[in-house]
């Protein structure tokens, strides 16, 4: 690039730095959000990698059940016979092999309250061989008897437990234990956010597996110099059918890969969507600011052309300017990304979705990606303006500055209308035909169409507003309205950024309300019981509780039925599925689902997917590797907290002897003293670590609220996009005020007070924000309708509900945000000395 272009550009940038602040802020916020999200993802990946690597550090091979019914973080396999241990120990190349029994156990602290946390309540076996045990005792000693345990230091600290303390663990049945030791995991107080209880092998087998003849797996240490492959082969030759051996490092890679492909992939995609939205809104904002700044420089560009700059030189200068701004904003954004990642982590925790992470990991690669994306977005967003501005004829230097003519294009409104109409029609068609792909693509087309149509909509809306604005503010409002009309493209572009943000917020509000209404309606109609006993714990901590609770509640006088319902993993029709485990007869009394003994119940959604109906026979593979073919006895409308499959408890327990329950649904007998029943049930619940007991209404409400947690996360993630949009409006107005110094001075000279000038600018801000908010809300409600219809037509049973209060609140907040956006430019305009304005020739 030629030196003069670079020099003129960089000088100009410094000279105009105040006008470019808004652009910088848009790039900065967009990139900071992206960097924060990349940092959060990297932190998650790192935490998971570290956890698995620590777990298998000294393990050369693992012997385990060959059947896997669930993968990823929830990998579940059935137990193997303890007799395998001797065969493994005698295999060539094996230095040591230790069996472990694993499960879940919740610890009670010294104060009698459960120690809760961010992750699973893990329990396992204390292994004497230090190479095979990732835990190290830092206080006390290893367990000796079946009632001795070692716990993680984080739980010990939280529960005020020390070596020698006696307490109760729910494993899941209450066990009185003595804490003999406190341990750390790879130098950390705990393994991520999960707690840990280690028994002796005999204790773990008794409490966690309920079977002294079984173990969960066997970990193996090889003799020095034995390769992983040959070790695995040697052990494998000695194993019975249904049991497999894998290399330790291979297992670590597999575990990390399954988490990366499963939960992490979903989580990162979820986060990336919001980074994309924030960047899109930032791009709209950048585009607008740059076009306003470029319009104000038409004369300067023309002068450069008069002095001999080629059109391509002018263009290069403009692109360079955008690139430099993008770079500066992005580098600053990346620097702020670390704080953003920490803030996001805090926001997730505040919304009930805690991420068990220590610190924040930030890689150089992520920083480079964020900077690269920031620069590219800035250059792309400004390219059309740069091309247009570079075409400024040299003559413009000598004549009046050309006005913004983008609203004058005849083709634009026609094209916009066509795209919008086609998009809206496609969205409705997709919704009716339950095709989510058609709905999604058409919805994006509608949005694009509305942005193309923007200037025309804006002009129309401003004229309509002009007719309604009467009363005492008449002249202020009219001047503001005319200001909007003078460059509708600019106002539309500022409003469009807000429209995108608001449309998404409104869409999620509608979807949330529809899901809530649907859950309330469906669950309210399906659940016929009176009380519900549940773990009530955090999203991760609730590992289920003892089936004894159901048995004991059933014995309470006045209780007709106590249906203990659990959650498990099985392969159904070949794929791993989460299933609900319940006795069909008992369940039929608490829910309107009557499958009949020995039969499956399946939600209508999956039944439709597979073409199943009542009487269809379905293969179910259990955790022990055996498969049974079960007939479908009932179809039901899907609803939380039930999963899509309900498997009969008696069939299930033949393969899973230690199934826990996650809820007990209680139906009282007619005429029972409900108060007394409730008191008795609450008393039993108290003996199992304080389980929650809810009445029918509260149960429905809690279930609905649980479904809304993710929605609140979505709102937080969208908040930044809305903030960027509001800053964009503030920035556009500030530039407009700077452009109109003389007009404002004239107004002041002919008698406009400071308050009146302020109100004129505020009106303009309000009109801009109202345009974005109202169109965004209408669009969002439409999208919300389309999406909930799409799911309902595909058997989801969703109802369409508009949360009017929330929608009204969104519009109100949008309008207020407009006033906030306008307040600074308005104050600046009001402060303007009329004389300075007149004199600025």
């Amino acid at each position: 690039m030629s030196a003069p272009v670079v020099r003129v550009t960089l000088r100009g940038l410094w000279f105009r730095r105040r006008r470019l602040v808004g652009l910088f802020v848009a790039v900065f916020l967009g990139v900071a959000f992206l960097a924060g999200i990349l940092g959060l993802s990297a932190t998650m990946t790192d935490a998971i990698d570290t956890s698995y690597q620590t777990a298998n550090r000294g393990v050369d091979a693992i012997v385990r059940s060959g059947t896997e019914v669930a993968s990823g973080a929830d990998e579940i396999r059935g137990p193997i016979p303890v007799s395998v241990l001797d065969a493994v120990r005698s295999a060539p190349g094996v230095a040591d092999a230790q069996a472990e029994a694993k499960g879940a156990a919740t610890i009670t602290g010294a104060d009698g309250k459960l120690v809760t946390g961010l992750g699973p309540r893990d329990a396992g076996t204390w292994i004497a061989d230090a190479a095979l045990n990732p835990w190290r005792i830092v206080a006390g000693s290893a367990p000796r008897g079946p009632a001795d345990i070692v716990i993680d230091r984080a739980s010990a600290t939280a529960g005020h437990l020390t070596p020698g303390s006696t307490t109760t663990v729910y494993a899941p049945d209450p066990v009185r234990v003595t804490v003999t030791g406190i341990a750390t995991y790879g130098g950390q107080d705990a393994n991520g956010g999960s707690s840990y209880v280690a028994f002796t092998l005999a204790g773990a087998q008794r409490y966690l597996l309920g079977d002294s003849g079984a173990v969960s797996d066997i970990v193996v240490r090889a003799d020095t110099g034995v390769a992983e492959d040959s070790l695995v082969a040697a052990i494998g030759a000695a194993l019975p059918d249904g049991v497999e051996a894998v290399g330790g490092r291979q297992a670590t890679r597999d575990q990390i890969a399954t988490v990366d492909d499963g939960f992490l992939k979903f989580f990162k995609a979820f986060l990336d969507i919001f980074a994309g939205i924030a960047l899109l809104v930032a791009a709209l904002s950048i585009h607008n600011t740059f076009s306003v700044v470029a319009a104000g420089r038409a004369r300067e560009l023309a002068l450069l052309r008069v002095l001999g700059a080629r059109r391509s030189q002018a263009l290069r200068g403009l692109v360079l300017e955008a690139a430099v701004l993008g770079l500066v904003g992005s580098v600053a954004g990346v620097a702020a990304g670390y704080g953003m990642a920490a803030g996001l982590k805090g926001a997730f925790a505040g919304l009930g979705l805690p991420l068990p992470l220590h610190g924040v990991v930030f890689t150089v690669a992520d920083a480079l990606i964020a900077v690269g994306v920031g620069v590219v977005v800035t250059v792309v967003a400004t390219l059309s303006t740069a091309v247009r501005a570079s075409r400024t004829p040299p003559l413009a230097a000598l004549t009046a500055v050309a006005v913004d003519t983008s609203a004058a294009s005849r083709a634009r409104p026609v094209a916009g209308l066509a795209v919008t109409a086609a998009g809206a029609a496609g969205t409705a068609f997709g919704a009716a035909g339950s095709s989510d792909v058609v709905t999604g693509v058409a919805a994006v087309a509608t949005l694009v169409g509305l942005i193309i149509l923007g200037p025309a909509t804006c002009a129309w809306a401003a004229r309509a507003a002009g007719r309604f604005l009467g009363g005492a503010n008449r002249v202020n409002a009219r001047i503001a309205q005319r200001n909007v009309l003078r460059s509708p493209a600019r106002v539309a572009s500022a409003g469009a950024a807000l429209m995108v943000g608001v449309a998404l917020v409104a869409m999620f509000a509608v979807i949330g309300a529809s899901i809530s209404a649907s859950t309330t309606g469906t669950l309210g109609a399906m659940f016929t019981g009176d009380l519900v006993v549940s773990g009530g714990g955090s999203a991760y901590g609730n590992s289920g509780f003892s089936p004894q609770v159901a048995t004991r509640v059933a014995a309470v006088p006045g209780v007709g039925t106590a249906a203990g319902v659990g959650t498990g993993q099985a392969r159904i029709a070949g794929t791993a599925q989460t299933v609900t485990v319940a006795d069909p007869v008992a369940l039929a009394r608490a829910f309107t689902i009557a499958a009949g003994a020995g039969r499956l119940a399946v939600s209508r959604t999956v039944a439709e997917e597979h073409g199943w109906h009542t009487g269809s026979r379905v293969d179910v593979t259990f955790v022990d590797g055996r498969t049974e073919t079960l007939p479908i006895g009932a179809l039901y409308r899907p609803t939380a907290p039930l999963s899509d499959y309900i498997v009969p408890a008696d069939v299930w327990s033949a393969h899973n002897p230690r199934q826990l329950v996650s809820a007990v649904y209680v139906v009282t007998t007619p005429g029972a003293d409900t108060g007394a029943v409730r008191a008795a049930v609450t008393s039993i619940a108290g003996e199992y670590g304080g389980l929650a007991v809810a009445g029918r209404a509260k149960f429905v409400d809690d279930t609905v609220a649980g479904a809304s947690t993710l929605l609140n996360v979505v709102y937080v993630m969208l908040a930044l996009a809305v903030v960027i949009a509001i800053l964009g409006i503030a920035n556009t107005l500030a530039l407009a005020v700077a452009e109109r110094y003389r007009e404002i001075g004239l107004l002041r000279a002919v008698g406009a007070g400071r308050a009146q000038v302020r109100r004129i600018i505020q009106w303009e801000a309000l009109l801009t924000a109202a345009l974005g908010t109202v169109s965004g809300t209408v669009l969002g409600v439409f999208f919300g309708w389309a999406l909930s219809s799409t799911t309902s037509n595909s058997g989801g049973g969703e109802v369409f509900a508009v949360p009017w209060v929330r929608i009204a609140l969104i519009v109100l907040i949008g309008a207020l945000a407009g006033l906030v956006a306008g307040s600074r430019p308005a104050r600046r305009a009001a402060r303007l000395d009329p004389l300075v304005a007149i004199a600025s020739e």
């Binding site: 005319r482 003389r742 107004l747 000279a749 008698g751 007070g753 400071r754 009146q756 004389l835 007149i838």
Partner: protein, 255 residues
């Protein structure tokens, strides 16, 4: 330029003073870099008269006009509009005074580009919350010869027509004082004649008081009196000016 002026010279004889300054001084900046724009100016602007203010660049004539119109404040001395001491008014009162008692015509950029001619004319009244009756606006539009153009935007009017709209705006609220800052500076001679004729008739036919800053001796020829400023002081006052006499006087002032 025309030497024949409409009658109305008797206006100078009226004893009432529309505006006056008493030892008005204005200093910009401080210390060594201080610039004295007005240096103890005491001058009366009789009501119902057309006064031109002339002087070389930097003589303080624009500063005098800005102070007179309540757009700027003196650093010493007093400025009165009627019997109101502008120095005692706060920002809000000064603004209110501007929109009700003073009319403005500037050299250029007199009109809001987004408002029509008629809307520009009624702007000060509307800012004051006063509803002008349409007939009155029409009369003023007729008086400045813009009937049929009241719905036009400034960009659709010629420079001369725009200045006539500005004069109409200055007239419509019946102000005590009309202040014109080089109103013909950007116009050709024919359009200048139209605008000066309108200001003249504002005094003669409507009894308004006009103070006009100008460089053009021909424009000063339309006035009843000419006040000459040099170095921030009153250098001369001429009654019954003609373009030639003004030109001579100006030559004497130029250093």
């Amino acid at each position: 330029m025309s030497q024949t002026r409409p009658s109305g010279r008797q206006a100078t004889l009226v004893a009432d003073v529309a505006a006056r300054t008493e030892a008005a001084s204005k200093v910009y900046g401080r210390g060594g870099s201080a610039v004295t724009a007005l240096d103890g100016v005491t001058v009366d602007f009789p009501a119902g008269a057309f006064t031109a203010v002339m002087g070389p660049s930097g003589s303080g004539k624009s500063t005098l006009m800005h102070c007179l119109a309540g757009l700027d404040r003196t650093t010493a001395g007093k400025v009165y509009l009627g019997d109101v001491d502008l120095g005692t008014l706060d920002e809000r009162r000064l603004t209110a005074l501007r929109r009700t008692r003073i009319g403005f015509v500037f050299q250029s950029f007199n009109l809001l580009p987004t408002l029509s001619a008629a809307e520009n004319i009624s702007l000060p009244a509307e800012l004051a919350g006063i509803r002008l009756d349409a007939a009155r606006v029409d009369r003023v539009i007729d008086a400045v010869g813009l009937r049929g153009r009241s719905a036009h935007r400034p960009s659709q009017l010629s420079g001369g027509q725009q200045q006539r709209v500005a004069v109409a705006r200055a007239l419509v609220t019946d102000p005590d004082l009309i202040v014109a800052d080089e109103p013909t500076g950007n116009l050709d001679s024919r359009a200048s004649g139209d605008v000066l004729g309108l200001l003249r008739s504002a005094v003669t036919d409507f009894g308004r008081t006009v103070v006009m800053v100008t460089h053009d001796p021909g424009a000063a020829g339309y006035a009843d009196r000419v006040v000459f400023l040099a170095d921030g002081r009153i250098a001369d006052v001429m009654t019954e000016p003609t373009a030639d006499r003004v030109l001579d006087a100006m030559k004497g002032l130029t250093r």
